[in-house]
């Protein structure tokens, strides 16, 4: 008890002690009088807003008037974005991929192909982004998200040989370390999609797809590294590791381009960036604009050639291919525009309501107070 009684007394002791000493010397006691400062007396200059209908009125109107135009702008921008979506899951009987989806599992070795025809009503100017979309795929599942070894993906040799326990149970297979380990890598999307333009005259033109530039720059150059920094021969580097169970090919055979192979394969990197929501899309390829004269994708008939490897039926998933142009605010999403417009309107309406309240009650209130 004494303990705590000391705590606040010691302060006094020093003060009073020195005061007494000063009194002895100079004959004047230092008083305990508190300092008269604005802070200590709690008199700091302050802004004291009072929330009444009258005072908040302007805020509502200003918000309303600002948000509505922004919303309209956003909506228009979003509407200018062209987007096309093809579902090639093959759930319906009529779907060309129906057979593939029916008799496919992770274990089957023989690739199944199907082609989905579609028609573009509008020509797509500028660069077109080609996404694959998955629905009902919980890439954000807690155990799934954790199931990776960043340090292995960063090219750490030790982690390559001895993957982190976070990867369990996808860390080792047949006593060999899995590279890349973990459930995320294991479940990598492995359909390959080709886009073929069918000329009005019937000739099929394969659309050139760019597979690089689809991942974040920092991912590709900082976060993901192949082990054995100098060694370009990935086969040697990955010696002693095994491919993930569901993979057809080992990681060093993902692409022929050495800059897009191994852990720095961009499809892989994109996949490893786990989606936030169960319905998501991931950038698959970019269709570069070739000339200023021709649209990137002219209107007409196309065919989507799918090598159907990825089973989604077990979890009622859907697979889509999306073609989309892009604007400064990203892909097509009218929501934000609508949200801005509606919030703006609500604010405006509430402002009007407040104005009425203010007129009916507020004025009188204040007047009553001051008129006295």
């Amino acid at each position: 008890m004494m303990a705590s009684s000391y705590k606040d007394e010691d302060g006094h002791i020093t003060v009073s002690g020195s005061g007494a000493a000063a009194g002895a010397g100079g004959g004047s006691l230092r008083s305990k009088k508190p300092e008269n400062t604005a802070f200590k007396q709690q008199r700091l200059p302050a802004w004291q807003p009072i929330l009444t209908a009258g005072t908040v009125l302007p805020a509502f109107f200003i918000i309303g008037l600002m948000f509505i135009p922004i919303g309209i702008g956003l909506y228009v921008t979003s509407n200018n974005i062209k987007e096309f979506e093809v579902d090639y899951t093959g759930v319906e009987m009529s779907s060309p991929c129906f057979t593939c989806s029916q008799n496919f599992s992770w274990n089957s070795t023989k690739p199944c192909t199907c082609s989905v025809p579609f028609h573009l009503d509008q020509p797509y100017e500028s660069n077109v982004f080609m996404y694959y979309g998955l629905s009902n795929f919980y890439q954000n599942h807690r155990r799934y998200v954790k199931s990776r070894d960043d340090s292995q993906l960063n090219g750490n040799e030790e982690s390559l040989r001895k993957p982190s326990k976070e990867c369990e149970p996808y860390a080792k297979h047949n006593n060999k370390p899995i590279a890349p380990c973990g459930a995320i890598a294991n479940s990598m999307f492995n359909d390959s999609l080709e886009l073929i333009y069918i000329d009005p005259n019937g000739t099929k033109v394969q659309i050139p797809l760019t597979a690089t530039g689809i991942a974040w720059w920092t991912d590709k150059h900082v976060k993901f590294r192949n082990p054995g920094a100098e060694n370009t021969n990935l086969t040697v580097v990955f010696q002693g590791t095994t491919r993930p169970v569901n993979w057809r090919r080992p990681v060093f055979q993902l692409d022929s381009d050495p800059d897009n192979n191994g852990f720095i394969n961009e499809d892989f990197i994109v996949w490893m960036r786990t989606a936030a929501l169960p319905t998501f899309r991931k950038l698959y390829r970019i269709i570069q604009r070739r000339s200023n004269v021709h649209p990137t994708l002219p209107r007409g008939n196309y065919s989507l050639e799918v090598v159907y490897n990825y089973p989604v039926r077990s979890f009622e998933g859907r697979k889509r291919m999306i073609l989309s142009t892009i604007s400064w605010m990203g892909g097509k999403n009218p929501f934000l525009g609508i949200a801005y417009v509606s919030v703006g309107s609500v604010c405006f309406l509430l402002g009007v309501l407040l104005l009425i309240i203010h007129h009916k009650y507020g004025n009188r209130n204040n007047a009553a107070e001051i008129s006295h």
């Binding site: 007394e9 807003p49 009444t52 908040v56 807690r142 326990k165 479940s187 006295h372």
Partner: protein, 1475 residues
């Protein structure tokens, strides 16, 4: 606090250990041998070796034990255990949600903050321990054969110590010799009890005769005494000399550690208790741990939070089960198997998930809330400390918060229990009037003088406030700088013994002001009385000269001289001279032989004389209520011989001899002190000093006091020395004190008694009506009684003075029994008490005095303001009823136009009847009076005594009970009956419907019982304020105890939670600081709950989109540090600095305080409202980003980071809406928070691409900052989230503004407009307090025209309304006449507003309603009602219903307690009430 208990616990444990080691026979006592006979080196043989050494160690930890012990202590807090449990849960792989190390961070942070605080405190303790342990003292060394300097810590029990003047006692020491010729040693106990008067301690009696220097080597006695205990007023034991003789030891022989030796050149003693076993150390109790009402309420909501947490977790867990169930056997790729590769069973994964969710949602139980509250409270305490308005220039003291954790309780008080003397009054006693032998001397000149002082006072005050300098203090210091040096030296090292700072301040205070202000010192004598005194003494002189017997003096004259002698000597005042204030006047007037023999005889054989004599002067008021005069422990070894000697004694001291003893030489002898008139009197209680100063004004001055004699200087007669045979000290049971002296003029043994009139008047010898003398006596008696009533009616403290002469034989008889009583071991106190009773009978009445105890500045205004603030004020005083009632009128506690119910009963049954009748009276009266239907229902309820609240919340049921304009006066005896179990309900029912309650003649115990009763039964917040030891129990019982750091020692302050220099500061403390602290903290707590719920529910919504897997899109780092850092500072700033209403308005509109009383800032529904708001806001914060990013390629953390940012913005802006005052600190803190978040995020996202698994948010924020969508989201989401609250607040501000908001609006007005408005504001405020929207109609003038003014309800309206308002704000049905009746006043008053220069609210605002001029002009309606109901004769201006039940008769002419002037005819004093 727990740890305090532990300290003593430790001490006890170690003691117990020691005891176990010792032989069983030693269990009850301690035997101390002198160390001198034992070689230090061979400590094994030293019998004292088991006793604690003088080294003190108050630290709790050692280097090694710190960590385990501190952690152990911290884990006593349930919350800490919870958080550690959660952190540890993270180490279990299957359930972990975060990186385990990271999850530990917050709890480690919290624990280490507390640990560092504890460590720092402990280090300071260690330092001060070290300092104290290394102080020097002189210890006798066997080797050196002299006293050598040693450190305190080297001191051991059994050491001999030489003490020098002004030295501090290092241990509890038995005094063996002293350089003082009277075998005394004077000590100052300021550090122990705050009293600065000198206490005398005597050396052990067996060493009285030692003339030569005491040689420790020759000391061979053994001391046996009791075990160490913490009773400062008790010490028993005996010393066994080598010859086997035993001498008793008592507390007068013991010098306590921590006291300072004064006035004594040198003293030698032996250490009895050392170190932790000293009484001072055992007595050291720290502040209690109290939990404020707000915290209790908060804890309930914390449990609700826990409940919500469990519900959420359960929901998610079940959801997860369902989610898994829908996949059946087909296990999707993203449902990862357990690390072992096995499939988790559904049940197991649900259970695991449940635990995981607890981790993820742990923030819902706010870990930082507890720490934040502590921080905010410390800041609040700091600001209260710093308030200039709570600083008393005169005493250089400011408010002290001794309890750090109940500041917010100050804003929620409902009942104030106040002591009167010293709290409401100054406790500066001013002699006003006296009556001697039935003649009244009114001392008009004195009254004028006092009035003048008051003016000077106020002027000075003004000057001080303008000049800001301290003119008074300067003069004081220059005058007494010598002593200041001494003090600063002496107090340097005393940390151990209680609060040194407080004691010091008390000493400064008492030295400069206590009992000795000029107002008290200078008494202008009444010319008439002065003449008579002169006449009398000249006659005496004449008679002495002519060798005539004293008895020839006319009895009127002898009464006068006796009266003044009694005033002078019947006390325990110590005389000091001003130039050496700490040195008592030491002039021994040698008596001649016959008396000398008597003195010798007394000296040798009646030690009790000494003890009880010095007892009362030194026993101090450590425990004033204890029987003071009867606590000596000495048992005289030879009672028989005393008596034989007494019988043999031939006292030949005749009058002549006595006179010759005072030969003229004494008169001629130059006085020792040239400015004798300047002698200072140090008294324990101020009225003693006042009386001595009064006597001095009549040239009858006390010159010196020694334990065995008192010297008085009388006009013409010169110095007379009275032999002091006994002093029977004052105690609260006897209520009187007596001195037994040998009168030097008559040589008779005379008893002078001074005491409360109620007691003394009963002890007066009934005059035999036969002779004229007897008749005269009777006349005197009756007259004196009348004057006493008159004095009391004037609010004076009355004392009766009486005397009695004893014959030698009577005295001898009494002495014998008294000595027997003193020597008894068992029941000694009672025997001594009886012995005193035997002596104090058949007294001869000399006269009575009236002493004024002035009200403190601003007391009436403060009481009025506090009452307006809805506080019920009860005054509990020990004073007599009349005095108390009059003081109550003076301080506006009672109103002249309010009825007073007086309860005086003589027995339990009477009391019951009385209570019943008063209750019925109240019912009937207010039933008839009221046209208000709600009142009627209330009154029908009253019969059921519905005083127990259904809920713990007081607000709802206070509405049931209205407070009428009634005052209740009850005396101590009746109170004792009323507090009985069977009657307490009725008593409460009456008391709570009265506006003010006055309990007179109440004992300390009753005070605390009343407080306890009200607190427990009514479930209200109580505050007790007092200044003296008798208030301690009350202060401790109340929710908040306030001590007035005044002049009556420090006990009240030590027991209190807050110590104020003045009563009037209570107003600002409660109305401003209390209100602020409460509203700040309440808002902060609510905000905290909101904030945590909001963050957690965002994560909760996400569970619907991640398969209820416990995933969080908010990065674990953000989630954990969000509360701890990112959003922590602004709320601390707001919690510390926010002012909902300015202090001026708070003080001018006390009604604002009611919001705290009704807990309006934090009602249970508000918690839920905040929860709902948090849910809504989190929905917005979740779903806007959700839809904005729906079906996009956004990844988990790129999506989660904007949500975090949005949540932060929303939370900060929410705080912004709730913040009422924006200072630069608020802006800074918010800017800091935002900056901190972004800086931290940027650093975190750039620091390491592979660490922080499982979140891999590398470069996320950097990319987001380039994304316009991010900004668009940050703009819209907080807006939408806060829209409802903002809109609600705006509507609330306009449609149904709270009272506080009205106050805030007043703040904004320019100052002169504001003053005008405040002048009228009571109308507005009152109506505001009434039914909600009602106030809007207030300004409509047409209402006022339709109604008639002056209904009877006007009289009760303000209080009624305000009380009624509690709890039921809107449904309240007001009588129609209410608002109109206010309104009628408004036009009249609206013409009046003019700027007032005074600050007191009461002056600016005349009391509402009733006090308006029309009321005083016309007789109040209530009065008429009363006369109808009660058939009381219309008397005076005020009403008083007096219930008196008295079976006493006889001598008491009109003594029954009716307030004077309102005396109900005696016929009505039958055992029935005046009803």
């Amino acid at each position: 606090m727990a740890r305090d208990g532990e300290d003593t616990g430790m001490a006890k444990a170690s003691k117990a250990k020691r005891q176990r080691k010792k032989k069983p026979k030693e269990n009850k006592t301690r035997t101390v041998h002198a160390n001198i006979h034992y070689d230090n080196a061979k400590g094994e043989e030293n019998p004292n070796r088991h006793y604690a050494s003088n080294k003190i160690k108050t630290t709790k930890y050692t280097v090694l034990s710190f960590l385990p012990k501190n952690l152990f202590e911290q884990f006593h807090r349930f919350a800490n255990v919870y958080f550690v449990f959660i952190a540890l849960l993270n180490f279990v792989p299957v359930v972990n949600a975060f990186q385990p190390e990271l999850a530990l961070a917050p709890v480690v942070f919290i624990l280490s903050v507390t640990a560092i605080k504890d460590l720092w405190e402990d280090y300071r303790r260690h330092r001060s321990d070290k300092e104290i342990n290394h102080m020097d003292c002189l210890v006798y060394s066997r080797e050196a054969k002299r006293y050598v300097e040693k450190y305190w810590k080297e001191l051991r029990v059994g050491d001999f110590i030489r003490l020098r003047c002004n030295e501090i006692l290092p241990a509890d020491i038995l005094l063996l010799t002293s350089s003082d010729p009277d075998h005394l040693c004077h000590i100052e106990t300021a550090t122990l009890d705050g009293e600065t008067n000198l206490k005398q301690r005597q050396i052990v009696r067996s060493f009285f005769d030692l003339d030569c220097d005491f040689d420790p080597l020759k000391f061979s006695s053994i001391i046996e005494c009791e075990k160490p205990n913490n009773d400062l007023n008790r010490f028993r034991g005996y010393i066994i000399h080598r010859n086997g003789r035993r001498d008793a030891l008592h507390k007068e022989n013991l010098l306590l550690r921590g006291c300072t030796v004064r006035n004594t050149e040198e003293a030698v003693g032996i250490v009895i208790y050392a170190g932790h076993e000293t009484k001072a150390m055992l007595n050291n109790n720290g502040p209690r741990y109290k939990r404020s009402k707000l915290e209790r309420q908060m804890n309930v909501d914390v449990f609700w939070c826990a409940f919500i947490l469990l519900v959420l977790c359960l929901f998610v867990a079940v959801g997860h089960g369902l989610w898994m169930f829908q996949y059946g056997d087909k296990r999707p790729v993203f449902d990862v198997l357990s690390p072992e590769g096995t499939d988790l069973s559904l049940v197991m994964s649900v259970i695991y998930l449940f635990l995981t969710m607890i981790i993820v949602f742990q923030v819902l139980i706010p870990i930082s809330l507890f720490v934040s509250i502590e921080i905010v409270k410390i800041c609040q305490v700091y600001f209260i400390h710093q308030d200039m308005d709570l600083y008393d220039e005169e005493t250089d003291s400011q408010l002290q918060c001794r309890a750090l954790n109940i500041t917010e309780d100050l804003g929620q008080m409902q009942y104030i229990f106040s002591d009167k003397t010293g709290t409401l009054t100054e406790n500066k006693m001013v002699f006003r009037r006296c009556t001697v032998a039935g003649v009244e001397y009114s001392h008009d000149a004195n009254a004028r003088r006092i009035a003048m002082y008051q003016e000077i006072d106020s002027e000075e005050e003004e000057f001080m406030s303008h000049g800001g300098t301290l003119p008074r203090r300067d003069s004081v210091t220059s005058h007494q700088s010598g002593r200041v040096v001494l003090r600063s030296h002496s107090t340097k090292s005393h940390r151990r013994t209680g609060s040194r700072a407080e004691a010091k301040r008390a000493s400064i205070l008492s030295k400069h002001t206590a009992f000795s202000s000029p107002m008290e010192k200078d008494v202008t004598p009444d010319p008439q009385l002065l003449d008579r005194v002169n006449e009398c003494s000249s006659q005496l002189d004449f008679m002495r000269f002519h060798h005539q017997s004293m008895s020839h003096l006319p009895s009127g004259l002898s009464d006068i001289i006796d009266f003044f002698i009694a005033l002078t000597i019947c006390n325990t005042v110590v005389v000091t001279s001003p130039n050496q204030p700490r040195h008592k006047v030491r002039t021994r007037f040698e008596l001649k032989s016959p008396v000398k023999t008597f003195e010798d005889f007394i000296k040798r054989f009646t030690p009790s004389r000494l003890t009880s004599g010095s007892n009362s002067s030194s026993s101090s008021s450590l425990n004033r209520s204890s029987n003071r005069g009867c606590s000596s422990l000495l048992s005289s070894p030879s009672t028989e011989s005393t008596l034989t000697k007494l019988n043999e004694e031939h006292l030949s001291g005749t009058l002549e001899q006595a006179f010759s003893a005072f030969s003229p030489q004494y008169d001629e002898k130059p006085p020792d002190h040239p400015e004798e008139g300047e002698l200072r009197y140090e008294a324990e209680s101020p009225d003693e000093a006042a009386l001595v100063y009064a006597a001095r004004a009549y040239k009858c001055s006390l010159v010196g006091r020694l334990p065995d004699q008192v010297t008085v200087e009388l006009p013409h007669l010169g110095k007379l020395t009275f032999e002091l045979l006994h002093t029977l000290g004052f105690d609260s049971t006897r209520k009187r004190m007596s001195v037994v002296v040998r009168h030097p003029l008559t040589d008779q043994i005379t008893v002078y008694t001074k005491g409360a009139d109620s007691v003394i008047m009963n002890l007066i010898k009934p005059p035999d009506t036969g002779n004229t003398k007897g008749k005269r006596q009777k006349k005197i008696f009756c007259r004196t009684q009348n004057y006493l009533n008159l004095y009391a009616a004037d609010g004076l403290r009355t004392l009766c003075i009486a005397k009695k002469t004893l014959s030698k034989e009577e005295y001898a008889r009494w002495l014998q029994r008294h000595l027997e009583a003193e020597t008894t071991i068992q029941g000694r106190e009672e025997l001594l008490f009886e012995s005193a009773l035997r002596l104090e009978t058949n007294l001869h009445l000399l006269g009575a005095t009236g002493v004024e105890d002035r009200l403190q500045d601003g007391v009436p205004e403060t009481i009025a303001t506090l009452r307006k603030a809805g506080l019920q004020i009860w005054v509990l005083t020990g004073d007599k009823q009349e005095t108390a009632v009059n003081i109550a009128y003076a301080c506006k506690l009672l109103d002249p136009d309010e009825e007073i119910i007086t309860l005086n009963a003589d027995s339990q049954e009477d009391c019951g009847v009385l209570l019943e009748e008063s209750l019925r009276y109240i019912q009937s009266k207010f039933l008839c009076n009221s046209r208000d239907p709600s009142t009627k229902t209330f009154l029908s309820n009253i019969a059921h005594f519905e005083i127990y609240p259904q809920s713990s919340l007081s607000s709802s049921q206070t509405a049931h009970f209205m407070v009428h304009r009634l005052g209740l006066v009850i005396d101590g005896r009746t109170l004792a009956y009323a507090l009985d179990k069977s009657l307490e309900d009725k008593f409460l029912a009456i008391a709570r419907s009265c506006r003010s309650v006055l309990c007179c003649r109440s004992t300390p115990l009753q005070k605390s019982m009343v407080v306890k009763l009200v607190r427990n039964k009514l479930k209200v917040m109580t505050l007790a304020i007092g200044d003296g030891a008798n208030d301690v129990s009350m202060i401790q019982v109340a929710d908040v105890g306030v001590g007035i750091s005044g002049q009556e020692g420090m006990q009240a302050v030590m027991a209190s939670d807050f110590a104020l220099p003045r009563f009037r500061y209570l107003q600002k403390l409660l109305l401003v600081h209390g209100h602020w602290c409460y509203s700040r903290l309440a808002n902060m707590i609510l905000y905290y709950f909101y904030k945590n719920a909001m963050l957690v529910t965002i994560v909760f919504w996400y569970q619907f989109y991640c398969g209820f897997s416990g995933s969080a899109m908010i990065d674990q780092w953000y989630l954990i540090f969000f509360n701890l850092m990112f959003s922590a500072f602004p709320q601390l700033i707001t919690g510390t600095l926010d002012k909902d209403v300015s202090q001026e308005t708070l003080q001018q509109l006390p009604q604002l305080y009611m919001s705290g009383q009704n807990s309006e800032e934090y009602k249970p529904y508000m918690f839920w409202m905040n929860m709902v708001d948090a849910f809504y806001q989190s929905l917005v914060c979740f779903f806007i980003p959700y839809f904005a990013y729906a079906d996009s390629d956004v990844d988990l953390f790129t999506w989660g980071t904007p949500i975090t940012t949005i949540a932060l913005f929303t939370i900060l802006m929410h705080l912004g809406i709730e913040t009422k005052t924006w200072t630069w600190m608020n802006w800074l803190s918010i800017a800091f928070s935002v900056a901190l978040f972004f800086t931290a995020a940027l650093f975190y996202n750039a620091s390491c691409p592979t660490c922080y698994s499982p979140s891999n948010s590398y470069w996320t924020i950097q990319r987001l900052l380039q994304d316009p969508l991010f900004y668009l989201l940050c703009a819209i989401t907080p807006m939408l989230a806060l829209l409802p609250r903002y809109f609600y607040r705006a509507c609330q501000g306009t449609l149904f503004p709270s009272v506080a908001q009205a106050g805030r609006q007043l703040d904004k007005l320019p100052s002169d407009t504001r003053r005008n408005v405040l002048g009228l504001s009571r109308f507005k405020m009152r109506s505001l307090l009434g039914a909600g929207p009602n106030f809007l109609s207030l300004s409509k003038p047409k209402v006022s025209q339709t109604t008639t003014p002056g209904s009877s309800q006007d009289k009760q309206s303000p209080m009624k309304q305000t009380r009624k308002e509690k709890g039921q704000k809107i449904q309240l049905v007001l009588p129609h006449s209410h608002a109109p009746s206010h309104a009628t006043h408004s036009p009249r008053l609206s013409g009046k507003p003019k700027p007032h220069s005074t600050k007191h609210s009461d002056e600016t605002l005349p009391p509402p309603g009733p006090s308006s001029p029309s009321q005083t002009a016309s007789p109040p309606l209530v009065k008429q009602m009363v006369s109808i109901h009660l058939n009381l004769p219309p008397d005076g201006a005020s009403q008083c219903v007096t219930y008196t039940q008295s079976s006493e008769g006889g001598l008491r002419c009109g003594r029954v307690a009716e307030p004077a002037h309102r005396t109900v005819p005696a016929a009505e004093r039958a055992p029935h009430t005046s009803l």
